[in-house]
């Protein structure tokens, strides 16, 4: 508690420096281990340095603060320290704010006001102290994971996605054909033939029993057009057709892996989405 560590991710240099200065004044014992300017660096530094706290700006170049938090929760090593407590920092984002309230996550509005930040610091100190209690240590990652699940709307088999206006306007009729173009040909792939989708940079790989295609879209955009009963997200980068799953098996460390009916691939389920696989 006395030597708590924190990471700041904020793309505007003045604001990052100021947050650091304010934290130093309000919480002198807190050590800022890194201050980064984009989401991907936040994820990478977060995994490497394993701080106790994360201050994440939402709108950042490359990867948003929300995406970084999700990725961090999915990739966080099991054997390591508990997940960092996350505080989102945002100028204006009513959708995100509603999601934070729902998930009981901490957030600070920009311009950051000193009194508000002081309250947040007090709450964080209390939470860190509570984590040192033996029964809390036993719970492991669960409380933070539950909060993030609530934040990303992962409930049962619902289509998760980060908060945003697009969620409210989910496409009325689900997509039936994937149109994958390669060269001068557009291949029509019925969604019923797709085994799973996998995010690959700016593309999505579409894997069927026979072959795979590349489509130029983001997995998030695609998800909004898919039938959430038919397609389940199992990882931030993987969406699988439920009918194509043969079995889900858990290894000794508790990690879930899916085997498919018509394909040799093994798909790993992130801890955010593991809840939907339970014996009946």
């Amino acid at each position: 508690m006395m030597n708590a560590t924190a990471l700041i991710a904020e793309d505007e240099p003045l604001l990052a420096a100021n947050l650091q200065a304010e934290l130093a004044r309000l919480w002198p014992e807190l050590r800022i281990v890194a201050s980064v300017g984009d989401g991907a660096s936040a994820l990478q530094q977060g995994l490497t340095l394993q701080p106790d706290l994360l201050f994440l700006d939402i709108r950042m170049p490359g990867m948003s603060g929300l995406d970084a938090a999700q990725a961090l929760a999915e990739d966080w090593p099991d054997s390591g320290r508990p997940l960092p407590l996350v505080v989102f920092v945002t100028a204006y984002d009513e959708y995100a704010l509603r999601a934070f309230e729902r998930a009981a996550l901490d957030y600070v509005l920009k311009p950051v006001q000193t009194e508000r930040l002081a309250k947040t610091c007090a709450r964080l100190q209390a939470a860190l102290q509570a984590r040192e209690q033996p029964q809390a240590a036993e719970a492991g990652l669960a409380p933070m994971i539950d909060q993030l699940r609530a934040l990303f709307g992962v409930a049962g088999q619902g289509v998760p996605g980060t908060s945003g206006p697009a969620d409210a306007a989910t496409a009325s009729a689900p997509l039936r054909m994937i149109q994958a173009s390669a060269g001068n040909t557009i291949t029509m792939v019925p969604v019923g033939e797709v085994l799973y989708f996998e995010a690959a940079d700016k593309y999505v790989r579409v894997i069927t029993a026979e072959r795979e295609h590349l489509i130029r879209t983001s997995l998030r955009e695609l998800l909004q057009q898919l039938d959430s009963q038919q397609f389940w997200q199992i990882h931030r980068g993987t969406v699988v057709r439920a009918d194509a799953i043969a079995s889900a098996s858990r290894d000794e460390s508790g990690k879930l892996t899916l085997s498919l009916r018509d394909h040799a691939a093994k798909l790993s389920v992130s801890r955010l989405y593991a809840e939907q696989f339970k014996g009946m």
Partner: protein, 366 residues
């Protein structure tokens, strides 16, 4: 307004017209009649009442049954204005209906008049007497058509007024949308956050930033009120915006403005380029981890004025978000409204290998 009051005011309006028409008819046709003033008034009143009731019933009835089968009412119009428009089925239907109303109304009104005065004038007897037929029926027709035209014109006037009102409302809505898009809360609060920090750290820079914010806000609010300003003013406002973004993005943003002196006094629509500059930053440079450059330039060629906004950001392939479409659409609409087909806006990927996007506005010089 409660329903009974609407109905009452409608009835009162119709009744006033009936009374006026009856009085006029009595005075006009009295000389042709062998009866005295009061019985004549009673007859004209009952006849006018019957004809008007028929015409009005037809006007509402026919147009209502037409509407049910016809096209949906225009969107953007209030229900009242649609109702006003609805109550006119067209002259093609109304002329036969008026003729029918005049004959039936005349006969009906005559019978009613007989009942009221307790006399018997044998309305059909009139048909045999050609001498009194013409002076009775012709004015009745004339009156019926006159009354109908009055209603028609009044309905048309109300519909035109409603349309003008709807157009005004759309214009105000557009203006508001423009304003909201320019005063994007995310931009505003982040700028204020930076300002708050600078006040403590570097008061002089804070003052400079506040001046730029002031210039930007004033220009945004004024843009909806004036039709044009000098190109130099346009570049100055874009300069304000870029300075604000510069403080926020730090070394990730480099901006250059290139305005040749001889073009600086040419008139342009206020803040025409603003949405393009905003898009270049929001969709091109902000999503890029490394940031980049933005260049705003003005050139003149034989065809007119060329204004370009170039960025070296993530490029157009990334995502065509709703925001960028709205900005582009907004500029296109303004250009079309002001210059018709003489102006254009093109968004392309530059071919110099540096990536990013290039928006070029071409407007005629008058």
């Amino acid at each position: 307004m409660p329903t009974y009051r609407v109905v009452f005011s409608w009835l009162w309006r119709e009744l006033r017209i009936t009374v006026l028409v009856s009085l006029a008819a009595t005075f006009l046709f009295g000389p042709f009649s062998d009866s005295t003033f009061v019985p004549n008034l009673i007859y004209t009143f009952t006849v006018a009442l019957c004809i008007q009731a028929l015409i009005e019933a037809g006007r509402y009835g026919l147009s209502a049954s037409f509407m049910r089968r016809g096209a949906a009412p225009l969107s953007g119009m209030s229900p009242e204005s649609v109702a006003v428009q609805r109550a006119w089925p067209g002259w093609g239907l109304m002329v036969p209906w008026i003729a029918m109303s005049a004959v039936v109304g005349y006969l009906g009104g005559h019978t009613l008049g007989d009942l009221l005065t307790g006399t018997h004038h044998a309305p059909l007897g009139i048909l045999l007497n050609f001498q009194s037929l013409l002076p009775s029926l012709l004015p009745t027709f004339a009156l019926a058509i006159g009354c109908t035209y009055f209603f028609y014109a009044r309905g048309r006037l109300a519909a035109t007024e409603a349309q003008a009102q709807a157009a005004r409302r759309t214009a105000v809505e557009n203006q508001l949308r423009l304003l909201v898009s320019q005063l994007e809360p995310h931009m505003l609060f982040n700028t204020l956050a930076n300002l708050r920090v600078l006040i403590g750290q570097d008061p002089q820079r804070a003052q400079a930033m506040l001046d730029h914010l002031n210039g930007f806000l004033r220009a945004t609010l004024d843009a909806s009120r004036s039709d044009s300003h000098a190109l130099s003013a346009e570049f100055a406002r874009i300069g304000d915006y870029l300075e604000l973004m510069q403080v926020r993005m730090g070394p990730r943003l480099t901006g250059t403005l290139d305005l040749p002196d001889e073009l600086s006094s040419l008139p342009v629509p206020p803040l025409l380029l603003q949405p393009l500059v905003e898009n270049a930053i929001k969709h091109g440079l902000e999503p890029s981890v490394a940031g980049g450059r933005i260049e705003v330039a003005a050139r003149r060629d034989a065809q007119g004025l060329l204004l370009s906004v170039r960025d070296t950001g993530v490029g157009l392939g990334a995502v065509a978000t709703h925001g960028s479409r709205f900005g582009m659409q907004q500029v296109r609409e303004r250009l079309a409204a002001l210059y018709g087909s003489a102006a254009s806006l093109e968004l392309t990927t530059p071919d110099d290998g540096l990536g990013g996007a290039l928006a070029v506005v071409r407007i005629p010089v008058v």
